[in-house]
């Protein structure tokens, strides 16, 4: 085709350079870029709080910061990472950028609503950062009543409102995706030709649209409780503090799937592309996403096995919780089978995919420990739980996000990043992550409760290991920022399809045109067919 690859003259980044051209854009790709920058800032802030936490926990005594400050650290870490980084991460950045080109559309169904969702996210973020600067909040990201309603003296209301507002951003993104996937597919792009990334986002969007209103309602209830003393959660006035937990987890458990499902979708793309083989059991992988999204709504009370719920309802929720394990396991087995007789290459995104499979497997399997009633009683609210959900949300969701970012970076920017350092970073993240969080399973089973500012001396060694690993992990996260930024100027030109991937998004130029395609493609083949993809010059040096 081309002797020498060049960045095309016309593409979405050249469509105006003024601030105005960005702030008033309706291009899903530019909105995705603004999301990328916003959530990166949030990730950095959330990460700083994590640094503070690990620093404090390096010694058993509470000697680095006061107890109140520490409590604010883990609260703000959780709130920022969950609501302002993980939930928007893959959908709002990669989903936003890629769903239209993947299904052969020129934009999302509602470009203005897409921009609105970004502004709403910003407003929510500003509320939260305002509360943080003026003193922060110390309730834990879970806002359990009655502490959040009456006990805490911190800025509960502004932060809760920030989350309330940001929730609408999430709802609008989900709504936009659902309509787009239903209505905007190119001719020939049937449901069963959709990339699994799109299936995963479809499932995610359902959760966003159906679940997020519940957290909004819950926050309103918390607001009236705290501001006006309604007594909904106050036992002295006939309220019930445990009711809050039911409402909170009715959203916040499915919210875990908002974070992990898109990462599962990314991994399906990566595993298939880098083994140059169609995904094993396409329909099983696709439907397992929907199954996870649906089952995710009926397991919430497994967060409450020791909160005084009845023995029998605990049994029902334990039983249902195991049901989520099955579709998750099915995905892992299908990825494994996809590698069989593939043509596997270990580019950076594939390293992330491998890391993802390992960490997600551990995260998922330790979920079985927690779903098991007799065991959960012991490890509930200990570091075992902390380790488990970090394996899912950091090991899983962030590995998936980074894998996706490395995979689609040449599509987004038209350029390649440094091959060597990106591999170093992928390995550092994997190794650092395990050193950080694996000891937490051990210290959790030993009985160390979560959210402890100080802890018994005999638990120090394991905590020091965690803190040391976190340093490696942190450096692993900083590295991509450097080589990604450097690649913008110096990176080798990637061309339209550097990985020889099969998706529609790779058939258009990199970076894509504002309208994505010169002509809307007509889809005639099945997804993940690599035989027809022209062999490209390798981008590798």
């Amino acid at each position: 085709m081309l002797d020498k690859l060049r960045i095309p003259e016309r593409h979405y980044l050249h469509e105006g350079h003024s601030l105005r051209s960005w702030l008033l854009t309706k291009d899903h790709k530019r909105i995705a870029i603004m999301y990328l920058m916003s959530i990166s800032v949030m990730f950095f802030i959330g990460g700083l709080f994590a640094v503070g936490i690990r620093f404090e926990l390096a010694t058993p005594q509470g000697d680095f910061v006061t107890a109140d400050t520490y409590n604010k650290f883990f609260t703000m870490h959780g709130i920022i990472m969950v609501f302002f980084f993980l939930i928007p991460s893959i959908p709002a950045v990669l989903g936003n950028f890629l769903i239209p080109p993947m299904i052969g559309a020129r934009d999302l169904a509602f470009p203005r609503i897409n921009l609105l969702s970004l502004y709403i996210y910003w407003i929510g973020g500003i509320f939260t950062i305002y509360a943080m600067i003026t003193g922060g909040v110390d309730t834990g990201w879970t806002f359990y009543t009655p502490y959040s309603a009456a006990g805490s003296n911190s800025h509960v209301i502004p932060v809760a409102l920030g989350i309330f507002i940001a929730g609408f951003s999430s709802i609008l993104t989900g709504l936009n995706f659902i309509v787009t996937i239903h209505r905007m597919r190119a001719p020939g792009m049937t449901w069963f030709r959709l990339p699994l990334f799109v299936w995963a986002h479809y499932a995610t969007s359902l959760v966003q649209v159906l679940g997020t209103p519940v957290i909004a309602i819950t926050i309103v209830m918390l607001f009236v409780e705290r501001a006006f003393g309604f007594g909904i959660f106050d036992p002295a006035r006939g309220g019930d503090p445990v009711l809050f937990q039911h409402l909170f987890w009715f959203y916040s458990h499915p919210a875990v799937y908002i974070m992990i499902l898109p990462a599962l979708g990314v991994t399906s793309e990566l595993v298939s592309t880098f083994s140059k083989k169609t995904i094993f059991g396409y329909s099983f992988v696709a439907f397992s996403s929907l199954a996870i999204a649906i089952f995710g709504f009926i397991v919430w009370a497994h967060h409450m096995f020791v909160a005084g719920i009845s023995t029998y309802s605990a049994m029902v929720f334990s039983f249902l919780s195991f049901s989520v394990a099955i579709p998750s396991a099915v995905k892992v087995f299908n990825w494994t089978a996809t590698l069989y007789k593939g043509a596997v290459s270990f580019e950076t995104p594939m390293l992330y995919a491998y890391g993802f499979i390992g960490l997600f497997a551990i995260g998922g399997l330790t979920g079985l420990f927690l779903a098991t009633l007799g065991l959960d009683i012991h490890v509930h609210d200990t570091y075992f739980v902390v380790a488990h959900f970090h394996y899912i949300m950091v090991g899983g969701a962030i590995m998936g996000y980074l894998g996706g970012l490395h995979f689609w970076w040449p599509k987004i920017t038209g350029r390649m990043y440094n091959n060597f350092f990106s591999k170093v970073s992928a390995i550092m993240v994997f190794v650092g992550f395990n050193i950080t969080f694996f000891p937490q399973f051990v210290v959790g089973y030993l009985g160390m409760p979560r959210r402890y500012h100080s802890y018994p001396d005999e638990m120090q060694v394991l905590n020091v290991m965690s803190s040391a690993g976190a340093t490696v992990l942190g450096l692993g996260y900083v590295l991509p920022v450097i080589y990604f930024l450097l690649s913008l100027r110096r990176g080798r030109v990637a061309g339209p399809n550097p990985w020889g991937a099969s998706g529609l998004e790779w058939q258009t130029q990199s970076p894509p045109l504002t309208e994505n395609f010169v002509e809307i493609p007509i889809v005639t083949g099945e997804p993940y067919e690599y035989d027809h993809v022209p062999a490209k010059e390798s981008h590798l040096v």
């Binding site: 009655p146 059991g281 098991t372």
Partner: protein, 340 residues
């Protein structure tokens, strides 16, 4: 269990601990098997089928229904085994035996207060005998807490406005951690203490040592007078309030036509929000005591009321109120011996 002197596994100090740990190692084995299988296959396939030349594509294999069924059904069966086993351990953990010794715990920012029926009161420390089932009724003075005994492998949340309970049978004398496992504000990490498991004789000796002010029920009886409860709740039944004699465990008829079983929760509600349920034939005259009486005193009052129903309380194990004479202790089970 320790490695290089670093503890990596908690003490097994209750009869549950073995059950829970056995379950833990079962799941750990199964999960390790799956994790290793996947890890080995993924790495092996990755190396074995490594791309050798540019443009090479993988074999065309779209899937296999038998395989999909296999790896859906087998994990489902294994998960059901885990569920069933876990549920049975849990069921046992949630059913205190009838003859359990009763202790009350109140969580309060940021301390644990324990009361023994014999009258001893402790803060952040708990003394118990080994080899005897112990039921702890837990409540909270302010926000949520969670009473956690890692070496006994059990915990339960302390919820304001409610009683929850847990039980265990300590099997090994020693001193173990008590933690608050539910975040409760500034000094959450300081809401810790220790439980000292004593040999039964040593426990009896310890009981003799403290306990000013008589048993819990006796303290409750004094509160009953101080709050002038006795001016209306006459034993004769002729007072303005119903007689409290022998009511625990019975079902009372209410003015609104419903009925209520007289238990801890009912007594608590009747004291704190006395207008909530009025016994048929009585006027809603009783003042509410919400905010006027501490959780600990409330428990003592309830204990006193229970002591007025000797039959009912015998059924629930400890002869409440009647001093469980230290001279005639129940024959204690040997440590580690499993009941039932």
């Amino acid at each position: 269990m320790t490695i290089f002197g670093i503890p990596i596994f908690p003490d097994q100090a209750s009869t549950f601990a073995k059950d829970v740990d056995t379950l833990y190692f079962f799941i750990l084995t199964v999960c390790s098997f799956f994790a290793l299988t996947v890890a080995i296959l993924v790495v092996y396939f990755g190396l074995r089928y490594r791309r050798k030349r540019e443009g090479q594509t993988g074999a065309r294999i779209e899937g296999s229904l038998p395989l999909e069924l296999m790896w859906s059904v087998i994990p489902t069966v294994i998960a059901m085994v885990m569920f069933g086993w876990g549920a049975s351990v849990f069921y046992h953990l949630r059913r205190p035996p009838d003859d359990a010794m009763h202790i009350y715990a109140v969580g309060k920012q940021w301390m644990w207060k324990f009361q023994h029926l014999e009258g001893q009161r402790e803060i952040n420390e708990l003394h118990i005998p080994a080899g005897r089932p112990i039921k702890v009724t837990v409540s909270s003075e302010d926000v949520l807490h969670s009473l956690y005994f890692p070496s006994f492998r059990t915990k339960i949340d302390a919820i304001p406005g409610r009683y929850t309970e847990l039980w265990f049978e300590a099997s090994k004398p020693g001193t173990y951690h008590i933690f608050c496992a539910e975040y409760c504000g500034t000094n959450h990490a300081g809401m810790i203490g220790s439980v000292t498991v004593l040999e039964p004789q040593a426990y009896q000796a310890w009981l003799q040592g403290g306990g000013e002010g008589g048993t819990m029920a006796e303290r409750g009886a004094r509160l009953f007078e101080q709050h002038a409860c006795n001016s209306c709740h006459l034993d004769s039944g002729q007072g303005r309030g119903p007689s409290l004699k022998n009511i625990v465990g019975t079902t009372v008829e209410l003015t609104d036509g419903n009925t209520a079983v007289v238990d801890d929760a009912y007594l608590r509600e009747s004291i704190l929000t006395s207008q909530a349920k009025i016994v048929k034939g009585f006027q809603p005259l009783m003042p509410t005591f919400q905010g006027l009486i501490s959780e600990e005193n409330l428990l003592a009052l309830i204990e006193h009321v229970k002591s007025m129903s000797p039959q009912a309380s015998t059924a629930s194990g400890q002869p409440a109120g009647a001093t469980p004479s230290p001279n005639a202790p129940k024959p204690p089970a040997r440590p580690g011996e499993k009941k039932q």
